[in-house]
Amino acid sequence: MNKISIILSREYFIRVKKKSFLLTTIGIPLIIMGFYAAIIYISLSGSDEKQKIAVIDEANLFGGKIDNHQSSIEFKFIKNETADSYIKKYKKDGYQSFLFISKDSSIKDKFQLHSSSSASLTTIESIESIINKTLRAKQLLLKGVDPEEFDRMTQEASITNTIDSEDGSKKSFAEISYAVSFGCGLLIYMMMVIYGTQVMRGVTEEKTNRIAEVIISSVKPFELMMGKILGIGAVGLTQFAIWIVLMILMQMSIPFIFPEFMHQVSNASSSSSENVTMLANTIQGLSSLPLTKIAGSFLFYFLGGYLTYASIFAAVGSVVSEDQQEAQQFVFPVLMPIILGFVIMTKAVNDPNSSLAIFGSIFPLTSPIVMMGRTTYDIPFWQIALSMLLLVASFLFFTWITGKIYRTGILMYGKKPSWKEMIKWAFTK
């Protein structure tokens, strides 16, 4: 046991001290949070800045007035100018762009927006919606219909799905639990592949640079294998822990960095823009999910899945040599169930109670990924219990047989063993 811990700590520190570890561990959440912050920033700043747009309405479609409730764009009518003459002046007058409506245009025509740099899509969209609204109101008035009345009549219904717990206390949003489930499944899939192949590469390295025999004369092969697997697993856990801490820190720091944002979120119900409402829903939805339960099962399934596959990867690593192509031939069958798990998971997040999803979350070779895909939904207790039990059993079983393949494979040089030989090693004493 003592020797396993010496090996474990070498495997652990040699990886954690690498620059690439720091880069991915700190870098990835920073990028995600930067993205997050950018969205918040844009959604806040967009409402601040006023766009001033000049309008030359030769056809007099608007009658000198554009109704505008949204304050971010301001229209000003200019008289006695043509498009050609005004191009030189609009900037001097303090406008970002100007809209030109030629003499003979009608509503169906395209109007020209002149600007020095290309206007953003959102700007064009909001200008379009404002002038359309104005023009429609004019048309409606011409026909004797009250525009407000019309708006009320053509209101479209929309649906948001909230998931309520039985006592009605907690509400969540379907999109968010979908995203969290999928994210967890994807993360566990990636971590299993990344750390599993790291175990394999580590074992192959020990075998090909011939240190294995030196070490095996000091420790048992099983200790070397377990030390490596646990060391690399600890690296995965460290990464996971750092991510969680970073996420919490950043979540907590949002109110300090963007105080106005939290203010907007708290009265998000009516007036504010769509982005803010969406973010508000996200935050509300996230905080309503059973996050501790999710983190707990993530931990369990990561460990169970990783340990099961890592021992298989270690056995594969012990039988291959430097030849990468040869390694591929053995790796593919191991990756198959992981990929299968991923595919089932993508189905399970859509339909968490289908029989495929239930099978996938109980079968131990796919359960870590598939179960995470169902994690935000209510899963019957027997399924969770059975799935965990089978995972632990499969971990013990695979470690036991792969340990024996590893023991023989790590000292074999030259010819590559066949599947038949490997099975023989696995089941002989």
Binding site: I6, R10, E213, V214, I215, I216, S217, L411
Partner: protein, 309 residues
């Protein structure tokens, strides 16, 4: 007192008998040569002695007690023929790591590594990475890591391969030193000249079987072929006689093979009668290399191997 005794050790691999009923014992403090062509079963035998393999049958006694890998491994230092180190690790850390795997605590490991690094003038390497070492340097490091934990039995499989004469000499000196301080050394090789120089006792194995066992001088006596070298100026006519056969005739010496019935005195008498002035006379003992080739080639169906590599 024997540090190691092997009693009819056997180990089979699926198709072949790697080690087939081998017994011998090694005296404490001796330098012992384990010889054999490639594929003879040396590595398998050593792996059983180091606890990597379990013998199929037979018994190993270590210090008079049944060998128990987990406890006895601390007293063994093994430098396998196929050796290696972690390329990305710093040399000092690497040495400490291997010492700790042998069961030393951190402080002892550190002290021992420092001591040996000073002795081998390797202190300045401490923070270098293994991959930056030349082949000879990493060989030296490998040797040091084998003896860090003061093992009483040191097993060296081809320790000189890849070493220049200067470094080979440093290691050779250290081997003698360790033996003088009471350690026992098993030296496995197929390079006979080194064995003759270093070892006191040898065992020769071929195809999993023991061919030869004993003290080098005794073995040479056993394999001597009645060959003598006579220092004298001789004409071809003077050496035409039925009592011996000329092997090599040089300007001031001749090598002859004496027929079995003739004694040394009769031979000398023959020259004296012819009034030949003999400057020197000595028996030529076979080299281990000759014995090795003779034994290995005589065993049926010679395998592919290379004596000098």
């Amino acid at each position: 007192m024997n540090i190691l005794e092997l009693h009819s050790l056997k180990k089979d691999f699926s198709s072949q008998k790697a080690v087939d009923d081998i017994s011998f014992s090694i005296k404490k403090g001796s330098i012992f040569g384990l010889l054999g062509p490639n594929g003879a079963g040396k590595t398998t035998l050593l792996r059983m002695i180091t606890g990597i393999f379990h013998p199929d049958s037979g018994e190993i006694l270590f210090n008079g007690k049944k060998f128990h890998a987990i406890d006895d491994i601390i007293n063994i230092g093994y430098m396998p023929e196929e050796r290696g180190l972690y390329k990305k690790m710093k040399i000092g850390e690497h040495a400490i790591y291997l010492a700790r795997l042998k069961g030393m605590n951190k402080a002892d490991a550190m002290a021992s590594v420092k001591k040996w690094f000073v002795k081998f003038e390797m202190e300045s390497w401490w923070n270098k990475k293994v991959e930056d070492l030349s082949k000879g340097m990493s060989q030296k490091l490998q040797f040091v890591t084998t003896i860090l934990h003061n093992p009483s039995l040191i097993i060296l499989d081809e320790p000189f391969s890849g070493l220049d004469p200067v470094n080979a000499n440093i290691i050779k000196e250290e081997i003698f030193n360790l033996a003088n301080n009471g350690a026992t050394i098993i030296f496995s090789t197929h390079r006979m000249e080194q064995v003759e120089e270093i070892c006191t006792q040898i065992v020769l194995i071929n195809k999993g079987k023991k061919m030869l066992d004993g003290n080098i001088q005794d073995i040479k006596q056993d394999f001597k072929d009645n060959i003598f070298k006579i220092g004298a100026n001789l004409t071809p006519e003077q050496i035409m006689t039925p009592i011996f056969e000329v092997i090599k005739h040089e300007k001031d010496s001749v090598q002859i093979k004496l027929s079995k019935e003739t004694t040394n005195n009769e031979l000398l008498n023959y020259f004296i009668q012819q009034q030949i002035n003999i400057e020197s006379f000595n028996e030529v003992l076979p080299s281990l290399n000759d014995i090795f080739i003779k034994l290995v080639e005589n065993s049926t169906a010679t395998r592919k191997f290379n004596i000098t590599h």
